[in-house]
Amino acid sequence: MKKPPDLHELLGDDLPEDEVERLRGVDALLRSVPGPPHEIPLSLTHAVEQLAIEPARIPRRRKALALAFAVLVAALAFGVGRWSGGESFDAAWAAELAATADAPGASAVVQVGERDEESGNLELVLDVSGLPPLEPDEFYALWLVEDGEWGATCGYFSVGEGETTVRMTVSYEIREFEAWAISTGHPNEHPPPLLRAEIDAA
């Protein structure tokens, strides 16, 4: 394809030279980037239109499920708090989760403690920030990816403003999974990860 004409040719000869110079910067910018798509595909527009459906009311069954989760989270928080309250934490290794397109600006680090030889449990400490607070009946989850799917749940949590630190306990062989993931919702809903980190099998 031919290069665009010289700026003088684009503007004509009757424009004052200082005005031509003023526009030279934006002319250079336009020459430095590739052109836009000629038109927006109708298939894309149609697909995007379908996205903006009215948010469905939460079915009664899901509300009951959410309530059950709330009880579970509270119970876990109480249990974990009793188990780890006031104790120091020595991380054996850690992973930094990267935000996906669904949560730009979010960040999280999960630290994995040494396995307790007596119980076989591992303590996790999750530091997360940049996620928006959810409705009272919604939760975030830290989970492990297996075959691209939700493989195992580490725990559910809520967030406040700024950084939130959450302690969890699991007994999994974490390095047998593919990745860490954080999302909202429940495994059956196949929520897209908001943050994710690959797990090195080594």
């Binding site: 394809m1 031919k2 798509p37």
Partner: protein, 184 residues
């Protein structure tokens, strides 16, 4: 207040409305940013089909995650750029293929930092173009990326050559104001 700031505030307000489930605001946001998103996706992925998928995922993420936008953390355009960039990277990862760069004449051997800068520049320029009146945007796009001469553009649009020149001047002038930060 500059036109650019006023527009940024307007984009910001649209995202806030989208966060509240406002479909009209979402449609308007799509109208403004569909072309910049597609342009950047095409540049990064080099394939129309994958670029369209990435663009769709971008707007799906905008619809789902508008609540995570915090105006005090940055401009609406920068937030949308980050959403699009993540969607494009995700699309490249899903296929287990590296993102490719459509070669550019300016920096055919650019490194990662240059490529990121190039993607941001592409985004800003095309976002600004979307803010121009249609008649000015059309003339500029034809002048810079179609390979047509000014006379051919006049013939194509069925307007006098002088009108093409006038629209080019006013379009470039308006664009210069919108892109003042980029050129600084």
């Amino acid at each position: 207040m500059s036109a650019a700031v006023a527009t940024a505030e307007s984009d910001s307000r649209l995202i806030e409305r989208v966060a509240g489930g406002d479909r009209d605001a979402f449609t308007e946001l799509y109208r403004r940013f569909a072309r910049p998103v597609l342009a950047m996706a095409l540049r990064q992925l080099g394939d129309n089909g994958r670029a369209e998928e990435a663009a769709q995922e971008t707007f799906a993420a905008v619809w789902r995650s508008a609540r995570s936008y915090k105006p005090e953390r940055g401009s609406a355009s920068a937030w949308l750029y980050a959403v699009a960039r993540h969607a494009i990277i995700d699309r490249a990862r899903q296929r287990r293929e590296p993102a490719v760069e459509v070669p550019e004449e300016v920096s055919p051997e650019a490194g990662p930092a240059d490529r990121a800068e190039g993607a941001w520049l592409t985004w800003r320029v095309h976002s600004a173009l979307e803010q121009l009146p249609e008649r000015e945007r059309a003339v500029l796009e034809l002048a810079y990326w179609s390979g047509l001469s000014q006379t051919e553009i006049a013939s194509y649009l069925d307007v006098p050559l002088g009108t093409v020149k006038t629209r080019t001047r006013t379009g470039l002038s308006r664009l210069s104001g919108l892109l003042e930060e980029v050129r600084a």
